[in-house]
Structures are given as C-alpha cells and as structure tokens.
Amino acid sequence: MSARTEDTTRAEPIFRGEPGVWWRLAPALLIVIPLFVVAVGLAVLQSVGIFGVTGSSDPSLAAYRSLLGSAEFWRSLSFSAYLATVATTLSLIIGVAAALTFRRFFSRSRVWSFLLQMNLAIPHLVGALAMLLVLGQSGLLSRGATAVGLTHGTSGFPAFVFDSRGLAIIAEYVWKEAPFFAVVALAILGTVATDYDSVAATLGAGRPQRFRYVTLPLLLPALVPAAVVVFAFSFGTFEVPLLLGGSFPEALPVLAYRRFVNVDLAARPEAMAAGVIIIIVGLAAAVAYQRLARRLEGRR
C-alpha cells in the first residue's frame, strides 16, 4: 500500500443506509475464501487418506512418512528452493539495473517501454518453449556457436536444458521476472525517488552513493515484498521445470504432478502431501510478504 493510505486520517464516511465495510468486502471474500479453504482442506484430507479417488480410509500419515522418508523428495525440495533463490536474486539484480538504465536513457520512448514490459504478458509456457529453442544443445545459440567454429556437434555445446543444475529453468525465470522487478522499481523511481536523488546530487553525492543511500532504501519497501512473491511463484511453478528440467532431480511441483497422474491411484495421497508442502511454502511467503510490507512501510 502506498504511503497515502496512512495519511488519510479521515475515516471513510458511512452514508446513511449505506452498507458497512464488511458488506463491501463480502462478495469478493465469499467467492475466494471458501474456494481456497476447500482446496487446501481437501488437499490436506486427501493427503491423509480421506476422500481418495478409490474411496476413504482411516486417516493416516503414511503418505507423509513415505514422502519425507524418500531421498527423492528432499532432493526435489532443495532443488526447487535452489531454483527459486537463484532466480529471484538474479532477476532482482538485473531488474533493478535495467530500471536504472532505462530511467536514465529510455524512459520517454514507447517502443523501449513496451520491450521492457513485454515479458509480463508472456506466459511461462511460451517462455519455456522459447528457452528450449534458444539454449538447447540443438538450439540456435548452439548452431551459431558451431557456425563460427566455437563448438562442434550438439554434445560440444554445454547442457543448459534437461540438466541437473536447472540452468535453462533459471534462465527462463530470470527472463520473465527481471522485467517484473524493473517495472516495480521504475514505478518508484518515477516518483519521490527522483526528488531525493536530485537533492542528493546537488549536495555533491556521487552516483554510487546516491544509489546506496537514497535510491535503494526507497526501492526496498516494494522490492523486498516483490522478491517474496517472485520466490513463491518460482518455487511453485510447474510448467517450466516440466518442459526444461531433467529426469532427476525434479522440481517439487513436477514430482507432485507425476504422482498425481500415476496409474497407480495409491500414489495420490503422496501427491497431495507434496502439494500441501508446496502450499505451506506459499503461505509462509504470504505471511512474510505481509510482515515485510508493513515493517518496511513503517520505517519510512
């Protein structure tokens, strides 16, 4: 929320006969909350064996025991966490750098502006396909490298796709999320930040100092929550690791999905258990987002 809300000391006037706050919130909340609660609830229930596709049984933590006891699960969990962390960090850095450069040189051009924001409209599925065609061992980069004699044959080109380090996955995330951070940063740079920046410049501060002591503190309240959001999305995204990931380790959402569509319907509770764990990470991110947003706002 912007600073303006806190300045509005005047409470919202309740006109006579006008419904109160909760009536206003009701339609939205009544659609979303029940759906979400039911979804999470059913995932939990199915993970303990109730409401399976083949009928209910007594609740048991068997699915969790088998899941948490398998090395495969822990590999997937850490793999997903690693992907999300690296992707978020890289996107943040590149996005902010892009925003600063953009603001300095390109902010008036509609074309550059569109180019910067273009990826926000491109779904991950398309991004993954594009990355495959660019970064694959038989992709365009590889063909270019062969043409200029840098590499020889498809196996001479480094493996970015289907590999155990998930490099193409990270590349896709960065490709999509850096513009997101850039747009978030630009929105701030376009407001109060410029004024403070000019003041600092006239006081003799150099560019790096201005960035560190003026710009960055102003960006953080929006960037940190945004980073939490990007982390949660990267952790839980399914399409990209499915398309670009290798057989092992699999990202956690892919692991969950494979158990979900397994012919052996007994794997379903494990799929749900993995899903519940993914939801927990998402909820933790939501709480973190809430806390961080408020705390960082308050500091100003």
Binding site: P27, V53, T54, G55, A71, E72, Q137, S138, G153, T154, S155, A159, F162, D163, S164, L242, G246, S247, F248, V261, N262, V263, D264, L265
Partner: protein, 408 residues
Amino acid sequence: MLVVVVLVAAACSTGPIADADIPDPSNWDEVVARARGQTVNLFMWGGSSQINRFVDTVYAPLLEDDFDITLNRVPVADTVDAINTILAELQGGRGRGGSVDLVWVNGENFLTLRQADALLTDWATSIPNARLVDWDSPEVNQDFGLAVNGAESPWGSAQFQFVYDGARTTVEELPHSYVELRNWVEAHPGRFTYPAPPDFHGTRFIKQAFYEVTGGVESWLLGFDETAYDAAAVELWSYLTGIEPFLWRGGTTYPQSLAELNRLFANGEVDFTFTQLPAGIGANIASGVLPATAKPFVFDTGSIGDSHYLAIPNNAAHPHGAMVVANLVLDPELQAAKFDPANGWGDGLAISLSRLEATEQSSIAKVTAGLSDLAVPPDRLQATRLPEVSAEYTIALERDWDFYVRQN
C-alpha cells in the same frame, strides 16, 4: 451486483442428458436411429496434432453428414485422466449421464476399467463391422493378456519399430537385438537414449529388453507371476544400468516422451528413435518432425505389436452414438485412410484383409503398395511380432525402472 448473481446462478447448470437403455447391436437400425442428433464425447490422448486433425477432418464430417452425430473430440493429456473421470463419476453416483461416451484405451488402462466394472461389455463382437475383425486372433481378443470379452472394439494396431537416419548410419551398422544394441551403444557413447517410462514407448522399449534378457516372452504369457518376475527382472536392471553410462548425457537424464526423443534424433543429438506406426514414418517426414533420410527397422528378436481400442463406459450418456462411431471407424475405406501416411497418421489396421471382399481390399492394397522404404514390410512386421503380456508387468516394470534406473 446483479450481474454476479446471474452469472453464479447460471453456473449451476444441468449435466448431460441421461440415456435410458443399453444399445443392442443386433438391432442396428434402432441403434443408428437412437444415435441421431447425439453428441458423442470421445476422450482420446490429444498429444498428436496429426491424429487429432485426422479425427477432426475425416471422422467428424462423415458422422455429421451421414448419421447426424456430432463428434466432440475431448483431448486428454494422458488416458489416465479419462479413467479418473469415469471412475470418479461412477463413484459419485452418476449412474447415467457421464461425461465420457467413448474412450481410446488399451493395456493397463483397460485393466483398471475392467477391474472397476466400468465398461459396457459384449457389444464389440456384435456390431456390423465386427465381421471384418479377426476376433479369433489373440492379437485382438486379448488386450495385454486380458480377455477383451467384447468390452472394447479395435480401432487400429501398432508395432514398435526403431528408426535410424540413413545419412548417419549404414544398414550394416544396425543392431538387430538388444545384445547387439549394447555393443553399439558402447561403441558410440552418448548417441542413444530412450524415453523415460511411464512414457508408452519407453515402457515398450524396456519391456522388449525384458523379454530378450529373460530368454523370451513365453515365460510371461500366463498371468502375473510376482516371484518369477522379481527373480528375472534383476537381469533387466543390470542390462539397463550397464548401458546407462554410454547413453546420451551419460544417462543422467532421459527424454520425457517420444516427441522429445524425435527432436533429439532429428537434431542429430542421438542416432535412433522409435515409432509405433505400421505404415511407417512417411507422415512424420512430411510434417518435418523427422529428417527425410530416416528409415524404420525392427530387431530380429522381435518387437511388441498389439491393437488399440475404443471402449464405452457403462455410464455413458450417449452409448448409441458411441457405438455408431466405433462401428464407423472399422469401415474399410476409413481404415485405409487411417493407414495412409499421406493423411497424417499411418496407424495399423484393425480389420483383417482376409475378411474383406476384393473391392474392399483395393484401397488398402493401394496404400501398402505406395509405402516404399519409409515403412517396414508388412510380412516382416508380422513375422517379428511379439505379444503384450499382463498389464501388471507393465506397472511393475515402470515402478521398478523409476527406482533402479532413474533414481540412481
């Protein structure tokens, strides 16, 4: 606000119209009459745009024009999704009026449906075009070793073949058995791989290896023997883990589907891929998926061939229409069209040439004559055909491959 309420109210729509009785194929005119005006929901694997296109442009217009049936092709990512829908609706008490009228199925999915008693039975042998099908042959009346009992009607047939690139590999260098394949792989590290089971082709690849390393398919033909399997499968895992270091990417990753393997093959990352189409790879070459110099072949030790089918769930909303569709696809002209790679598919026949009149045979003969070396000759396919075994072996093999090979 009113808009929202109306929209939400509209959300509580009614389900499909329920149908009262089970169609009787011996009274075919009645079936066709009842089918008029129906919409048949055909649930089939939607992963091949060419097969999809074939169904949309060949069957659908015919059904509309001649039978007043609207064919609604419902693509599913995996047949298991259709199975789950059928089972869930049956479980939820939706006795009639199910979403699935006709499902493309075979193997372990058929087993699951039979075990759940979810299919209409005894109809497939009584429809008019059933006379063209060789129901005496175990290739038709057994699906993965399970008796069909007229619960599904064949649509076509398939046989596993390897594909090589004539521009890269000479005929002399080709392996003709899994033993020779191991030698080839060791001599050409990084140039071979196979799709990870439970992909259909990957599973079939390892199953054939299983037959060969355990001394033949004969030991496995009589139902699922867990002890024998556990003892013998060791050989298979030793073979597969043995060749693993020599595979593409050192076996650290496997392509997830045949499509990916095709991509690797076409781009020169590996030297072999697979196909299932008895009419060969003409369609794939025409669509630019495989290079023009690609050719199919089979091992001397044989490859698995079987039929694939259409089944009608017993809670189908439009069983009459479904039966008409299942009957239509067996028509000789349409089977020839499906067999012809020029139409984008090249799937094998479900009907038997010996049961056709001379006039009915001509279209098929024309296609066969035009196949060239883009297909393995039909008699060679016939001679090397191996049967499928009980679906429980498939489940066991897929599960154990995941443990012994993928995770190590």
